[in-house]
């Protein structure tokens, strides 16, 4: 049975669609309205408020915390300054990705790690020899993602602090509704956005204050469906969908290295030993079998295909995550793992894993699509990720 988030009282009252799903053992709202549009556009044009409390959290403390996390991660953590957050992934000995998430440096010897799946076993397993403690704190905090162009103005107003100066991936403490909160300039929408961390017992007043004060700035409570559209526009991966967690795979073919899922940029090979180092070095030298790419699926071709059936073109209003095969002629060369119609870009987007050689921007391939129960293929082009990258995300 799923748990209630500390904001449940408020989210449940607003969720008129009754559309919920399970997220890491919690009830989570898919969309408050039956339609996802209003929430999506809040993320892109004003501010969407998403209950992200189910995010799995571990607090890592102790004098060796920096060294310990550096050994675990594909990028250096010991250089991370207090008040900074970093996006990271973790691999096993063979260089296969276990999970991805963020690491925030709260203090000299204190870090907070977030993951997509529960990874305590792994954090514990590798703790030997380090003077650190690892504690799961998922249930102790409520987390609200406030994302969108007006998120900075709202948070500045409710905290009485100018947070617009908080840099991308920065972290600061603040007072909100007379409670201590942490505010990080992070998110999963590819837009200007923040996450607010509050102790669970103080969750409701924080929600109420944000909703009341945010009204003038167009705040809208938003669910996971809207988030899914924005994260694909931003080109962000989803564990379990766009790649699989290595220890949860039954066969090797399901596993991926960071290089194969577009996270090669974060791998820092030349440093103290870290888990997976040798395997990753070897892969870098020999080249990877697979690559993760962004696809622009031809709208003109889709429209023409529907037209042949005498139908107007139609697309799901939600992002999809039922994989579709990709072809070069008759040869299957990969799969699109998730995708969406981008209401902002007016383009039909997908994230895909393709064989080496098909990952160059501009490469034309074909994607399977079904119209009236019949299978067809239509052209798709490899394009740059992120698909949508407003300046305000980093500025």
């Amino acid at each position: 049975m799923s748990r209630h988030s500390p904001f449940h009282e408020r989210t449940a009252a607003l969720c008129t669609s009754y559309r919920w799903k399970e997220w890491a053992g919690y009830h989570a709202v898919c969309s408050y309205d039956t339609s996802v549009e209003r929430e999506y556009f809040a993320f892109r044009h004003a501010a969407g408020l998403l209950d992200a409390s189910p995010l799995i959290k571990y607090d890592v403390r102790g004098p060796d915390a920096a060294a310990y996390l550096s050994r675990l991660s594909v990028r250096r953590i010991d250089k991370l300054a207090v008040g900074r957050v970093v996006y990271c992934c973790w691999v096993d000995d063979r260089g296969h990705v276990i999970d991805d998430g963020t690491i925030a440096r709260l203090d000299e010897d204190a870090y907070r790690v977030t993951t997509g799946e529960p990874e305590l076993w792994w954090l514990e397993q590798n703790r030997r020899g380090y003077d650190v403690s690892v504690e799961e704190t998922t249930h102790r905090y409520g987390v609200l993602a406030l994302q969108g162009p007006s998120s900075g103005a709202i948070l500045s107003a409710v905290t009485g602090t100018d947070l617009t100066g908080l840099r991308y991936f920065g972290l600061t403490s603040a007072r909100l509704a007379d409670r201590d909160v942490l505010v990080s300039r992070t998110g999963y929408t590819g837009d200007l956005g923040y996450e607010v961390w509050v102790e669970a017992e103080h969750a409701l007043p924080v929600w109420d204050t944000l909703m009341t004060e945010g009204r003038a700035y167009g705040i809208v409570p938003a669910g996971l469906d809207a988030l899914d559209v924005t994260r694909i526009e931003a080109g962000y991966l989803l564990l379990g969908i766009d790649y699989k967690s290595a220890p949860r795979c039954l066969i090797d073919a399901q596993k991926s290295s960071p290089y194969e899922i577009g996270l090669g940029w974060m791998v820092q090979l030349d440093r103290e030993p870290f888990i997976g180092q040798a395997a990753l070095r070897a892969e870098k030298e020999r080249g990877s079998e697979w690559a993760l790419v962004g696809l622009d699926v031809s709208w003109t071709a889709l429209e023409a295909l529907y037209e042949r059936h005498g139908l107007p073109p139609s697309l799901a209003t939600h992002a999809w995550r039922t994989a579709a095969p990709l072809y070069d002629g008759k040869r299957q060369i990969g799969q699109a793992t998730s995708g969406t119609w981008s209401p902002t870009l007016k383009r039909n987007l997908a994230l895909a894993t393709v064989r080496r050689g098909y990952d160059r921007v501009g490469t034309r391939i074909e994607i399977e699509t079904t119209v009236e129960y019949r299978r067809h293929t239509i052209p798709a082009t490899v394009v740059d990720r992120p698909f949508f990258d407003p300046e305000r995300r980093r500025s």
């Binding site: 339609s35 044009h45 004003a46 162009p149 709208w299 139609s314 209401p343 007016k346």
Partner: protein
């Protein structure tokens, strides 16, 4: 002397689309705009400090997705927020909100008529079928019906096939759509006034006709297309107001190399030996170009910039007959707080879309009656939007801008159009009086009011007779008849002079299609 491949007259959104398409194809392009801001009628101006009005056009109707993609408009700042609701407040305290979500709409409509609630989805299906017929037309350069040119014949043949493919029932429906009035057509489907009245107004926006005038049913379809476009549906607000669309297109055009000048009013098109060779600015400067492309309306293009002396008298006659007849005005308000309607209080999602003051078919027809005899309606049809509820960037926090499209406001009032300035404020009062019946405290929350009569639209924005679509969107002025038979393919009798504005197919609204089709036709034809 500077020489360009193409000079575009007018920096309205269609002119800018043409400029961007031509520049992207490698042509040297210059856009000349008379005003200090770009956008023509798609313009955002901060008339009152802190409040950004979409001064004229206020929603994006059918901005073509292919234009958005090809010109990379999101990269240049274009963001469109769809309208999720159409709200109808009624004076008797009832109200109807129609939502993007069909089930919610059904529940709302069934308060008025259970039968209508069920019929709505069937009506939707019928419109989808009709939309299938019209959609390709919107993307096509109109073929001349008498043409023997093979590619045009092919287009005509394909059109014929589409009609044939409709079957007897579909053909009957199509014929009805093209001949009936909006009110009669809707009568065949629905019984409740609360549904019919706000739907029927789509048939009359921007025309000098009433909801009971034959031929208005067809325009319903154009409106409906925006709604049934599903995933790529495009009725919405542009973030930052409609001027943001023009600016995004302008930035795209500049990115591809086009040059754009404002405050550069043009006196004449330079015509030598029956050919357009450039333009002569009001200040006397001459700029040469291979082609000149007019984004302004047909009246202004032919009777103003070209001049009758260069035209066949028969064409002059036809252009004079091309119906401009502005019938609407605009009132923009800055509000101290969000308005609250008596019939459904609060600033909930019901007022975040468009709001129609159109309580009944009779109300609308009475509004037209007054206009027929040269008066503005004392109780006009209003189409109200409050974009700041969705896009907080257009007003200070907690404050709002309210845009009211007002019909009827005939250009030719009985005293004569030049007397509009004396009537302007009385006209504005009428709008506020009308609103007050639904929002009792509206007067207390108005911080600033801007009133635009059709006369103002003509003087300030160059829209002849204040017609917002560069000529009525009535059947006899559409497709291969826009603006006249023989000259519906963006060409003009003056060689190297082209048209790309809303006065050409497929017409007005922030669609971009005329500019897009015109530029592509020029590139296809060569010479630019």
């Amino acid at each position: 002397m500077a020489h360009y491949d193409a000079i575009i007259i007018g920096g309205g959104h269609n002119g800018l689309v043409s400029a961007a398409v031509l520049a992207k194809a490698g042509r040297k392009v210059l856009v000349l705009e008379r005003r200090h801001v770009l956008g023509g009628a798609a313009v955002t101006e901060e008339i009152y400090p802190g409040f950004k009005y979409s001064v004229c056009s206020y929603v994006v109707s059918l901005l073509r997705p292919e234009i958005i993609r090809e010109l990379q408009l999101p990269r240049f700042g274009l963001e469109i927020l769809p309208l999720d609701c159409s709200f109808l407040p009624l004076p008797d305290g009832r109200s109807l909100a129609r939502w993007g979500d069909a089930e919610r709409t059904r529940a709302e409509v069934s308060k008025f008529s259970a039968r209508d609630a069920e019929r709505a989805s069937q009506f939707g299906h019928a419109m989808v079928r009709m939309g299938q017929l019209v959609r390709p037309i919107l993307k096509m350069v109109p073929p001349s019906p008498g043409s023997m040119n093979p590619s045009q014949l092919l287009d005509l043949l394909q059109l014929g096939r589409r009609f044939q493919g409709l079957g007897p029932e579909g053909l009957a429906l199509a014929t009805k759509m093209m001949t009936m009035s909006a009110a009669d057509f809707l009568d065949e489907w629905f019984e409740s006034e609360a549904l019919k009245a706000p739907m029927s107004v789509s048939g009359i926006i921007g025309t000098f006709q009433g909801v009971r005038s034959p031929g208005t049913a067809y325009v319903l379809l154009h409106h409906y297309m925006g709604e049934i476009d599903g995933a790529y549906r495009s009725w919405g607000f542009a973030k930052g107001g409609t001027g943001a669309i023009s600016n995004a297109i302008a930035d795209s055009a500049r990115h591809f190399g086009a040059e754009i000048r404002t405050e550069a009013p043009i006196g004449r098109v330079r015509i030598e030996g029956g050919k357009a060779t450039g333009v002569i600015l009001e200040n006397g400067d001459e700029i040469a170009a291979n082609v000149v492309v007019s984004g302004v309306d047909p009246h202004r293009t032919f009777l103003g910039l070209v001049g009758e002396e260069h035209l066949d008298p028969d064409l002059v006659k036809r252009i004079r007959r091309f119906k401009m007849r502005g019938s609407s005005g605009k009132v923009n308000l800055a509000l101290d707080r969000a308005p609250s309607f008596t019939c459904r209080p609060g600033d909930g999602p019901h007022i975040r879309g468009d709001i129609a003051i159109a309580p009944s078919i009779d109300y609308l027809e009475r509004a037209y009656d007054q206009a027929k005899y040269g008066e503005f309606s004392t109780r006009p049809y209003l189409n109200v939007v409050i974009p700041s509820l969705t896009d907080p960037s257009v007003a200070p926090p907690g404050k709002h801008v309210m845009s009211c499209f007002v019909q009827y406001a005939p250009y030719r009032i009985k005293e004569g159009p030049e007397h509009w300035p004396e009537k302007r404020e009385a006209f504005g009062d009428t709008v506020v009086d009308t609103l007050e019946e639904y929002i009792p405290d509206i007067r207390d929350i108005i911080l600033h009011r801007q009133v635009l009569s059709p006369w103002d639209l003509e003087q300030e924005f160059g829209l002849t007779e204040g017609n917002i679509f560069h000529g009525e969107l009535s059947l006899e002025q559409l497709f291969f008849l826009r603006p006249t038979a023989d000259w519906s393919r963006y060409r003009t009798p003056v060689r190297h002079l082209w048209m790309c504005g809303s006065g050409t197919h497929p017409g007005g609204g922030i669609m971009g299609a005329p500019g897009w089709l015109a530029a592509r036709e020029m590139l296809r034809a060569g010479g630019v």
